[in-house]
C-alpha cells in the first residue's frame, strides 16, 4: 500500500515537472529536484527508467532533447504541452452518454477497455447502468480488429504516407499510400486512399497487409476531395473504373440473384428472365477474381460471355474434374 502510494506520488510529480519545464531537464536534475527519488545512485536511476516507461505506456509524449546552453550532447527530458493536452471537444452530457452507449453496443476486438479509458479523458462515463439486466438487449454486434488498423488510423488522422507489403493472388508488392479513410464492409476492413506509385485511388484489404506499416512525416498530403469511394470494394474491378475492362455476362438463378445483385451492384443488371434468373453485365479487370466470384455460386450461375472467358472457365473445371478422375 505505502509502496503504491509512494510510486503514484512520484509519477505525478515527475509528470508535473516535465510539463512545467521550460527547458529540457537532465536526469541528474530530475533525480535531485523531483520529490520521491529518495534512494541512492544506481537504484534511483533504475527507478527513473521504469517510471519513464510507465508514463510512455499511458501515451505521455516525453521527448529527449539537447539542453540549450549546455555542451553538445547534453540532453534532457520534457513534455511538449501541445502534444500532451487534449483539445477540448466540449462534449455535452448527452453526447458523452451516446458515445458510452455505442461502446456498450459494439464490441471492437476482444477488449472493451480502450474506449472506456478514452471516455475518462473526455470527461467521464455517463449514462452508466452497469447493473441493468436488459443491457444485453443493446448489443448490436462486434467488429473484428487487425494489428494494422491502429497505425493506419493514426496515419489517416495525421496525414502520413503509409508504406506496407500487400499480398494479392498475383503475389506480394510494396505499396505507398496516402490514406484517406478506413472502411468496414461485408466483414472486412479496407483502407482507401491515393496510391503514390500507381497514381490513382485504391482500396486495400487490411487483412492482406503483410508485416508492419511504415509511416512518413505528418501532414504530407492535402485532405482528400475524392467524391468516389462510397463504392464497395469489388476485387474483380479494384479501381472501380471501367478502364481496360472486359464486360462479362453472367446469369444467376432466381434463388441466388438477391445476393448477386448486392455484390455486383444493381447498375450491372441487364435483364430479368421469366424464371426469376437475372443476367448481369459486369466490368472486369481481374479475371481470376471474377472467376472466383462466379464459382462461389457453384451450379447456380453461368458465365455466358465473352467466349474466351467462358472457355477458360470450362477448362478450369475440366482440369479439376480430370484430376478427380485420376485419383
Amino acid at each position: 500500500m505505502a509502496a503504491i502510494d509512494d510510486k503514484f506520488e512520484r509519477l505525478m510529480n515527475l509528470t508535473a515537472a516535465l510539463l512545467d519545464a521550460e527547458r529540457p531537464l537532465g536526469r541528474d536534475y530530475i533525480l535531485e529536484r523531483v520529490a520521491g527519488y529518495t534512494a541512492d545512485g544506481e537504484s534511483n536511476r533504475r527507478t527513473f527508467e521504469r517510471d519513464k516507461v510507465d508514463l510512455l505506456k499511458l501515451g505521455i509524449p516525453i521527448v529527449l532533447e539537447d539542453i540549450p546552453g549546455e555542451a553538445d550532447g547534453v540532453q534532457g527530458y520534457r513534455i511538449e504541452r501541445t502534444d500532451y493536452e487534449l483539445p477540448d471537444p466540449e462534449l455535452d452530457p448527452a453526447e458523452l452518454a451516446a458515445l458510452h452507449l455505442a461502446l456498450r453496443a459494439v464490441r471492437v476486438g476482444e477488449s472493451d477497455s480502450l474506449g472506456t479509458r478514452a471516455l475518462w479523458r473526455l470527461g467521464g462515463v455517463l449514462g452508466a447502468e452497469e447493473n441493468n439486466p436488459s443491457a444485453s438487449a443493446f448489443t448490436l454486434g462486434a467488429l473484428p480488429t487487425d494489428p494494422a488498423l491502429v497505425p493506419l488510423f493514426g496515419a489517416v488522422l495525421e496525414r502520413r504516407v503509409a508504406t506496407f507489403v500487400y499480398g494479392t493472388s498475383e503475389g506480394e508488392s510494396t505499396r505507398s499510400l496516402e490514406p484517406w479513410r478506413l472502411e468496414f464492409q461485408r466483414g472486412h476492413w479496407y483502407v482507401l486512399g491515393f496510391d503514390v506509385d500507381r497514381q490513382g485511388e485504391r482500396n486495400f484489404r487490411i487483412d492482406r497487409i503483410v508485416g508492419t506499416i511504415e509511416t512518413g512525416p505528418a501532414g504530407s498530403f492535402a485532405p482528400s476531395t475524392s467524391s468516389r469511394g462510397d463504392q464497395p470494394f469489388r476485387p474483380w474491378n479494384p479501381d472501380g473504373s471501367g478502364d481496360q475492362s472486359v464486360t462479362a455476362i453472367l446469369r444467376v438463378d432466381g434463388d441466388h440473384a438477391a445476393t448477386a445483385t448486392e455484390l455486383l451492384g444493381a447498375e450491372t443488371i441487364s435483364a430479368a428472365e421469366n424464371n426469376g434468373a437475372i443476367v448481369y453485365e459486369v466490368p472486369v479487370t481481374s479475371w481470376p477474381a471474377f472467376r472466383s466470384f462466379v464459382l462461389s455460386f457453384l451450379d447456380h450461375a453461368e458465365l455466358i460471355g465473352p467466349p474466351e472467358l467462358r472457355s477458360d472457365l470450362i477448362d478450369w473445371l475440366r482440369t479439376m474434374d480430370d484430376r478427380g478422375a485420376d485419383s
Binding site: 458515445l99 459494439v106 466483414g187
Partner: protein
C-alpha cells in the same frame, strides 16, 4: 472489497480527474466523481489524499496542487500544469470512433442525434476535419433487419424461408427471434427454431421471406450474444497444399495447422463445417490447391462439384 489499483492506473485516472475538477471552480461531489470516473469512493479518496502533495520544485504551497477535500466535496485549484487531460492514444481514439460509427450505421440510427454530434466534435479534437475517416457497415440494412428487430421487441413468432448456404438448401422454418446482431459484417438473428427444436443462428441476408405469425413467445433465458463461426473438434478435416497465390485462404478461414513446405507452398489443415462450403473453396482454388489428406467423406468433393458445374455449361 475493491480492487487495488496500480500506481500507473491511479496516475491515468488522476490525469483525467484533476483537470475535470479544476474546471469546476465551485468544486464537485465525490459521489459524482466516483460515478463518472468509475472509482469507488475509497479508491478516489486514496488518490486525492496523495494529489494534495503533488507539485514541482521547490514544493512550496504555491508550487503544489491546491486541493480541498471535505466530506463529500472536493475542490482543486491548479498551478499552470494539469489544466487539460492527456490526449487519447490512437488505439483509444480508434476504439471509440469505430464503435460510434458502427452504431450510426444501424437501421434506426439518428444521423443528427447526440452520437453523430459527439463523433463530429471528437474528430475535431483528434485533428481531423471530418468524422467520416472511419466508415462502418454492420451489414446490409434490408427491410428484413427492421422486421426482425421489431419481432424481437414484440416477441412475435415468425415463419421464414431460409437458404442454408452450407447445405445449399432452401427450407421453411418457424422461429422465436431472440436477438438481431451484426457479426463480422453480416446481420444475424439468434432464435429458437421450432423445426430443429433447438437454438439456431440465421444470417439475415439468406432469409428469402419472413411471415409474422399471430403468436407471441416467451423470451429464452440463454445468452443472446452471437459468436462468429468457430470450428468444433467434431468437424471433419482436410489438409491442402496451397500455392503462394492461394495465401488468402489462410487469412479468411480458421486454420487448424499450417506450415511452409520446401517448394514454397504452404500446407494447411482446415475444419470443414459442411461439404458445400468445401466445394466452393476447392472450385475457386482450382489447381492452386492439392488435397493431401482428408476425411473419406470429403475426398472427391472438389472434382464432384466441378463436374456438376461443367454439366451446366456442356448440356
Amino acid at each position: 472489497m475493491t480492487k487495488q489499483l496500480t500506481a500507473a492506473e491511479r496516475l491515468e485516472r488522476m490525469l483525467a480527474i484533476v483537470p475535470w475538477v479544476a474546471a469546476h471552480p465551485g468544486g464537485v461531489s465525490l459521489s459524482e466523481l466516483s460515478d463518472r470516473f468509475q472509482l469507488t469512493p475509497t479508491q478516489l479518496e486514496e488518490c486525492l489524499r496523495i494529489v494534495w502533495m503533488v507539485g514541482v520544485h521547490p514544493y512550496t504551497p504555491d508550487a503544489l496542487i491546491d486541493l480541498t477535500l471535505e466530506s463529500d466535496h472536493v475542490e482543486i485549484r491548479l498551478p499552470d500544469y494539469f489544466t487539460r487531460p492527456l490526449r487519447l492514444t490512437v488505439a483509444q481514439a480508434f476504439a471509440l470512433v469505430a464503435a460510434g460509427r458502427s452504431v450510426l450505421s444501424a437501421p434506426d440510427a439518428d444521423p443528427d442525434g447526440p452520437l453523430a454530434r459527439g463523433l463530429d466534435k471528437l474528430a475535431g479534437a483528434l485533428g481531423s476535419d471530418r468524422s467520416s475517416v472511419v466508415d462502418v457497415e454492420l451489414g446490409e440494412n434490408s427491410t428484413e433487419v427492421a422486421v426482425l428487430q421489431r419481432a424481437v421487441t414484440e416477441r412475435r413468432q415468425l415463419e421464414i424461408d431460409y437458404y442454408t448456404y452450407g447445405r445449399d438448401q432452401l427450407a421453411t422454418r418457424r422461429i422465436d427471434p431472440w436477438s438481431v446482431q451484426s457479426v463480422d459484417g453480416f446481420w444475424y438473428v439468434k432464435a429458437f427454431c421450432h423445426s430443429a427444436e433447438a437454438v439456431r443462428t440465421f444470417r439475415v441476408d439468406r432469409i428469402r421471406d419472413i411471415r409474422p405469425l399471430g403468436t407471441n413467445f416467451i423470451a429464452g433465458s440463454e445468452d443472446s450474444r452471437i459468436e462468429s463461426f468457430r470450428p468444433t473438434d467434431a468437424d471433419p478435416q482436410i489438409t491442402l497444399n496451397l500455392a503462394p497465390s492461394a495465401g488468402w485462404v489462410v487469412t479468411q478461414y480458421p486454420i487448424r495447422e499450417s506450415k511452409t513446405l520446401a517448394d514454397g507452398r504452404s500446407q494447411v489443415t482446415l475444419a470443414v463445417s459442411s461439404p458445400q462450403w468445401l466445394e466452393r473453396l476447392l472450385v475457386r482454388l482450382g489447381t492452386d490447391a492439392e488435397v493431401v489428406a482428408s476425411d473419406p467423406s470429403l475426398a472427391t468433393c472438389g472434382s464432384d462439384a466441378a463436374r456438376r458445374i461443367l454439366h451446366r455449361y456442356l448440356k
